[in-house]
């Protein structure tokens, strides 16, 4: 990625407006009395966090993981199972969610990163599905039916996650922090290695990098961020079930990343907004909205692979080209 010459591109303006709009959304919801918007966007922000985490390995590292939603489940069940056992403190729940995700990512990553290409896709998918069946089989925690969470994670007196606005801002702050983290990460030495691996792994080894350990580290970091997203999702829904880690959910996450624009820091956020808003709009038209979404997806794959971010960049270039430089 060569350095951009100007900060004031169409793309950057849109991104800045987007971040401001996300920050001001509760104000709008309050003024317009639109409580549904707040609920929808809380979900969007949480899913955006998951998509940002997937983008780290898929977009920047070129690792085509098809089981990323598994961490949504692991993070969610960490909160749900502890709550069921009477542990409500977020200071316990969230670190457990993070540790459990890290551990799972470490084991699964260590195994699946031994392979590449289509094997990697299928193996990450299969292991995630294994986790799905395991949680579906544990009767004590609801099995197939899922687990209702009667109390949201508790931190300090002043912070009440049951308050919609407060919860939204907690999610948003975590999302922004994750975006900044990924931004720092991909521009660090570690990030350069990761992008080198995506570009040409054989050459990376030839110039002296032991690529496996860097890929595995990225895999674990991505798992941790997504596990956190799972903990948030369980709190938002007051419920967790195996379906959050069903393989189609991993597919949704990939769609968000690709729709937004792979390998760009902010792309997955745009992708998450686009997909979830599109779902809302389409399902308003017809009960059978997936009959439209499916072929639409195929068309995006065939004709618009740069995603929204790529579209903005192209539009921006056209706009600048018209002016004499």
């Amino acid at each position: 990625m060569p350095p951009k010459t100007s900060l004031l591109t169409l793309r950057n303006i849109v991104v800045a407006l987007l971040l401001i709009a996300l920050a001001l959304l509760p104000v709008y919801a309050q003024l317009a009395g639109d409580r549904f918007a707040l609920t929808l966007f809380t979900r969007i922000v949480i899913m955006a966090l998951a998509a940002v985490s997937l983008n780290l390995i898929l977009g920047f590292g070129g690792m085509m993981s098809f089981g990323h939603a598994v961490y949504l489940g692991i993070g969610g069940y960490a909160v749900g199972m502890l709550a069921k056992e009477g542990v409500y403190s977020g200071f316990v729940q969230w670190p457990v969610a993070i540790l459990a995700s890290a551990l799972f990512a470490l084991v699964i990553g260590a195994l699946s990163l031994r392979t590449r290409g289509v094997y990697f896709i299928m193996i990450t998918l299969a292991f995630a599905q294994m986790a799905y069946y395991i949680f579906a089989g544990i009767a004590r925690y609801g099995g197939d039916d899922g687990l209702t969470i009667y109390k949201r994670s508790q931190f300090i007196e002043a912070l009440n996650l049951s308050d919609k606005v407060q919860f939204y801002y907690v999610c948003l702050v975590i999302l922004f922090a994750a975006i900044y983290l990924v931004y720092r990460l991909i521009n660090s030495r570690f990030g350069m290695v990761l992008q080198g691996v995506r570009s040409n792994e054989v050459r990376m080894r030839a110039i002296g990098f032991a690529t496996y350990r860097y890929k595995l580290t990225a895999f674990v970091i991505a798992g941790v961020l997504c596990g956190l997203s799972g903990a948030l999702l369980a709190n938002q829904a007051d419920f967790v079930s195996p379906s959050v880690m069903y393989w189609t959910r991993s597919g949704d996450l990939i769609i968000m990343v690709v729709l937004g624009g792979m390998g760009t820091v902010i792309g997955p956020v745009m992708g998450a907004i686009a997909l979830l808003v599109l779902e809302e709009v389409l399902s308003g038209f017809t009960e059978y909205w997936q009959i439209i979404l499916g072929p639409l997806l195929l068309l995006v794959v065939l004709f618009a692979r740069g995603g929204i971010d790529g579209l903005l960049a192209t539009l921006g270039e056209r706009f600048t080209l018209r002016r004499p430089s």
Binding site: M64, V118, I121, A126, M130, T248, I254, Y288, G294, L298
Partner: protein
């Protein structure tokens, strides 16, 4: 002992069924280098078609044959309309594009047949148990075994003994060469995809009377087919057969004997909690072990 034999036959039946699904997947991957998630949708369509056609014709066998032809046709149309444009793209494009197809097929089925599942009733002659070597076994499951064995044999003969099979094998190892031979690659690809679709459809319609016909039925079993392709080695028909039988046996026997085995070492309560989770893990453990020992699968694509 009879129970054990029965479970073994069940494992064999399940394994052969899985093979039919995995064979199409691995062929399409080996030859067109295409990851097709929508393979499970064709399995589902096979079942729905069979339910409809056998109700219309009043004959299970006729319905099944028509259903296979219909899935063959759907497969070829899908190849011409969508898949063809995905060849040569990277795997991410395949995954996303065919994921879109799954959404489309699931929703189309819901639109046409409604959200409730269908039943595919068996004719009387298949419902009675038959006696093999002095013990009773379901005639229907036995006929699945027979049909699957015939199909597997036919597939093996097709791939190993015929000109088209030679092209298929050549195509899997060297695409350009087949093109250089002056073969109509486009037609070959359409046929191979159609064949894979018909096999998936057959698997789906044979499973239909045992389970209910419902939306999403192809997705769970698709994951199993993936596991099988990974264990067997992508692109290898022989690998798919060996791995499918392994998975079929381990899954079936695991589900029926693991709870008892656990009860030997654990308290009954703990055993009944653990058993379902553990038995669904078994095949994934098998996959993990194979990966550790042979990351390219048991039979790599070179030797098929």
């Amino acid at each position: 002992m009879t129970l054990f034999i029965e479970q073994c036959l069940n494992g064999l039946q399940f394994g052969l069924l899985l093979f039919m699904l995995a064979a199409g997947l691995t062929l399409v991957f080996g030859i067109m280098d295409l990851v097709n998630l929508a393979h499970g949708s064709l399995y589902m369509l096979g079942a729905y078609f069979a339910a409809t056609f056998s109700a219309l014709t009043g004959s299970f066998v006729l319905g099944a044959i028509l259903a296979m032809l219909a899935t063959l046709l759907v497969g070829m149309v899908v190849e011409v309309v969508a898949m063809r444009r995905l060849y040569g793209r990277d795997h991410l494009d395949h995954v996303l594009g065919t994921f879109g197809l799954i959404l489309f097929f699931n929703e189309s089925v819901r639109l046409i047949w409604g959200p409730a599942g269908l039943a595919l009733p068996l004719p009387g002659w298949l419902q009675q148990p038959i006696s093999i070597l002095g013990f009773q076994y379901s005639a229907y499951k036995f006929s699945i075994i027979v049909v699957s064995l015939i199909v597997a044999g036919g597939l093996y003969a097709l791939v190993m003994r015929t000109r088209i099979g030679m092209l298929i094998r050549a195509g899997a190892s060297n695409r350009e060469m087949v093109g250089a031979l002056g073969v109509n690659i486009k037609l070959l690809y359409t046929l191979v995809f159609g064949l894979g679709a018909a096999l998936a459809g057959l698997a789906g319609l044979m499973q239909a009377p045992i389970l209910t016909v419902q939306i999403g039925m192809g997705e769970n079993i698709l994951i199993l087919a993936f596991v099988i392709t990974v264990i067997g080695g992508i692109g290898s028909i022989r690998g798919a057969l060996v791995a499918a039988l392994l998975v079929g046996f381990i899954d079936t026997l695991g589900r029926s004997y693991l709870p008892d085995m656990l009860r030997e070492v654990l308290s009954p309560a703990a055993a009944s909690t653990l058993a379902p989770a553990l038995s669904s893990m078994l095949i994934y453990l098998l996959m993990a072990i194979v990966l550790i020992v042979k990351p390219e699968g048991l039979f790599s694509a070179g030797q098929r």
